[in-house]
């Protein structure tokens, strides 16, 4: 285990280094990017520009600039946004993270439960009309872009049907922290959760169904049947368990990506002040310090998620456990 953690940590550092350098280089290679202009405000005097350049270290060579930025990000933790100097990057991330986490965790629970139900149901109903029907539904779920679905959901729940008994409980867009009011937290997130999970339910249900059908041809499933086990037991104990191995590795990656800021569109559409929203805003403004911070945060979670997947994987499949 210790070796595993050490190896993963080394990997994480390598990934973070590579990705920050890359982000840094891309930023400065992008035409039209000049942080000084954003920092100095309108019509600055050359003196102001020089002063700001000096203050932010923008007059130094690129490697030095990179090191300075990393120092302010990790050591003094006082890196500020280029656009809004009141915005300290590190606290911005730490306050946005719980929002994203709430969104993704809830959606993940919904999508895992419903994807397993749909996938298993499709296999049970194989040969009937319901199997292809479920899979077409899943395909529709995959095909609907989340920003479109989100806007439609907003239109329906906030406007058209808001005053009917169906959706009068839906609060206005925004977010309430779990710690200040759990019920409001829940109400605010229900529609975003469903919206975000629809795509994943569709995708995961299809993957699971395909996996289950593959596993059905395995010899050990035949052995299980030959033992006289009921179909339900064969399906749930012998087929589902091994099919979940692929499911879990996909889930870990997707979860990592979403927690790392990949739920950007959902957050923007529903006005949730999460990491995705922060990323979105910083990208619009080409705000390097914030972009850098969100990129590091994202890479961190994806790497962590990868490591977790490996651990769960080993739990699910004894063959790859260390002897």
């Amino acid at each position: 285990m210790a070796v595993f953690i050490v190896r993963r940590s080394i990997g994480l550092i390598a990934v973070l280094f590579a990705i920050t350098v890359l982000t840094f280089l891309i930023f400065f290679a992008t035409p039209g990017v000049d942080p000084t202009r954003a920092l100095a405000g309108r019509n600055p005097t050359p003196e102001t520009v020089a002063a700001i350049k000096h203050q932010f270290g923008l007059d130094r060579s690129l490697p030095v600039q990179y090191l300075l930025m990393m120092k302010r990000l990790f050591i003094s933790r006082d890196l500020v946004s280029y656009g809004n100097q009141a915005l300290k990057v590190v606290p911005a991330i730490t306050s946005a993270a719980p929002v994203t986490f709430s969104l993704v965790l809830g959606a993940a629970v919904i999508w895992v439960v419903f994807a397993i139900l749909t996938g298993v149901l499709a296999v049970i109903l194989k040969g009937t009309i319901f199997d292809p029907l479920l899979m077409i539904l899943a395909l529709i779920g995959i095909s609907m872009p989340v920003f479109w679905l989100g806007e439609v959901a907003n239109l329906v729940t906030q406007d058209r049907l808001h005053n009917t008994f169906l959706f009068h409980w839906v609060p206005p867009l925004g977010y309430t922290p779990l710690t200040s009011n759990p019920w409001q937290w829940f109400l605010h997130l229900v529609i975003p959760w469903i919206t975000l999970s629809v795509l994943y339910i569709g995708f995961y249900a299809r993957v699971l169904r395909a996996n289950l059908l593959d596993v059905e041809n395995e010899d050990y499933v035949r052995t299980a049947r030959a033992k006289g086990l009921s179909e339900r037991r064969v399906l749930l104990k012998h087929m589902l368990r091994t099919s979940l191995i692929t499911f879990v590795s996909l889930f870990g990656l997707d979860f990592g990506v979403l927690v790392g800021g990949g739920a950007l569109l959902t957050e923007v559409v529903f006005g949730l002040p999460g990491v995705g929203k922060l990323t979105y805003d910083s990208l619009v403004k080409l705000d390097l310090p914030v972009i850098m911070a969100t990129v590091i945060y994202g890479a961190f979670f994806i790497t962590i998620a990868n490591a977790l997947v490996d651990i769960v994987y080993a739990r699910l499949d004894p063959r790859i456990r260390p002897a």
Binding site: K126, G127, D219, T223, A226, G228, S230, R241, L316
Partner: protein, 340 residues
């Protein structure tokens, strides 16, 4: 003759495919007596495995068509409901498979997989089932069964896995054990161990055994009667000694002759059955072996029935040649063409 334990009557199994209907099993009938060892011999595609899987109704394919009767102690298994069939499987008729490497679920402990079968069919608690699992593993010759019971399949060698499969199959004292190529995937020395084990355990457990194999050498040891299958049909069926020393069907002769044998002087050239097994979608007219048979004559364009020999009621074959001709012509084939 004792009351048969298992009687298969005119079993037909076919699969609809894009290219046409594959007749995998085409009218197979046989009986199995209590405590008997029946060998079913045939090459790939002969329908030997499909026959026995269909007896247990283990094939789950929407494109499959089955007809015929499978009488087990007088009950037609084909007519049982799903639940009733599950009670038969693993309890009264158990089955082990060719590849022990893939036939055990890799994510569960060996012991748990054995217990699962016991708990499904017997009314005992978990500790008792576990105790039974350890006993069974001891019986099949797993050393240190008490601790190995908690191993995962990948910690067992191929031979040990097949032993574990046998333990699992015998867990509920079945009356019939179907062994589908149980030694094909194993090394010769391990193969000998497994055959010896099956031979011993069938007596300990009072089970009848159906041994499916492509290797006549394997059944020469432990079978009582042997059925030879070709292209979905039984072409010869009889007591072991009759089949080996007085084989009636040219395909059986060919099989006997094609094996490079250790018990004979080296042949300069092996006998070989020319051509390849026929298509099961559009099989040849008449006798299915006709296109490969060196003894075929006009009459073979008609389909021969599986009929008893005049002098031996329990030795059946599917061939138009008359017994005298057979006696004269088969020698060369069986002796691997050595005399030629």
């Amino acid at each position: 003759m004792p009351q048969p334990l298992l009687e298969v009557k005119d079993l037909r199994v076919s699969f609809r495919t894009e290219d046409g209907v594959v007749k995998a099993v085409d009218g197979v009938s046989f009986t199995l007596s209590p405590r008997e060892v029946l060998g079913i011999v045939g090459e790939s595609g002969s329908g030997k495995s499909v026959t026995m899987m269909s007896v247990l109704r283990l094939i789950n394919d929407p494109n499959m068509l089955v007809s015929g009767e499978v009488l087990y102690k007088g009950r037609d298994l084909m007519k049982l409901g799903k639940g009733q069939m599950q009670e038969v499987r693993g309890d009264e008729i158990a089955m082990i498979f060719q590849d022990p490497m893939t036939s055990l679920n890799p994510v569960y402990r060996i012991g748990d997989q054995i217990c699962e079968g016991i708990l499904t069919h017997q009314d005992i608690d978990k500790p008792a089932a576990r105790k039974r699992a350890v006993e069974l593993l001891q019986q099949v010759g797993i050393p240190h069964a008490g601790s190995r019971v908690d191993d995962f399949p990948h910690q067992f060698s191929g031979g040990m896995r097949q032993r574990a499969m046998i333990a699992m199959a015998l867990a509920n004292n079945p009356d019939v054990l179907i062994a589908d190529e149980p030694t094909t995937a194993l090394d010769v020395t391990i193969q000998a161990q497994i055959i010896e084990l099956i031979d011993k355990l069938k007596d300990d457990f009072d089970s009848a055994v159906v041994l499916i194999t492509h290797d006549l050498g394997v059944v020469a040891d432990i079978a009582d009667r042997i059925a030879v299958m070709y292209a979905g049909r039984v072409v010869e069926f009889g007591a072991k000694r009759d089949l080996f020393y007085d084989p009636q069907h040219p395909y059986t002769w060919g099989l006997l002759g094609s094996i490079p044998r250790l018990d004979r002087p080296k042949a300069s050239r092996l006998y070989s059955i020319e051509g390849t097994p026929p298509s099961l979608i559009s099989p040849p007219q008449g006798c299915k072996f006709r296109p490969r048979c060196p003894h075929a004559f006009e009459k073979c364009m008609e389909e021969p029935e599986l009929v008893s020999r005049v002098d031996k009621r329990d030795h059946l074959d599917r061939c138009w040649l008359d017994p005298a001709t057979k006696r004269v012509t088969r020698y060369n084939t069986i002796e691997g063409g050595r005399a030629a």
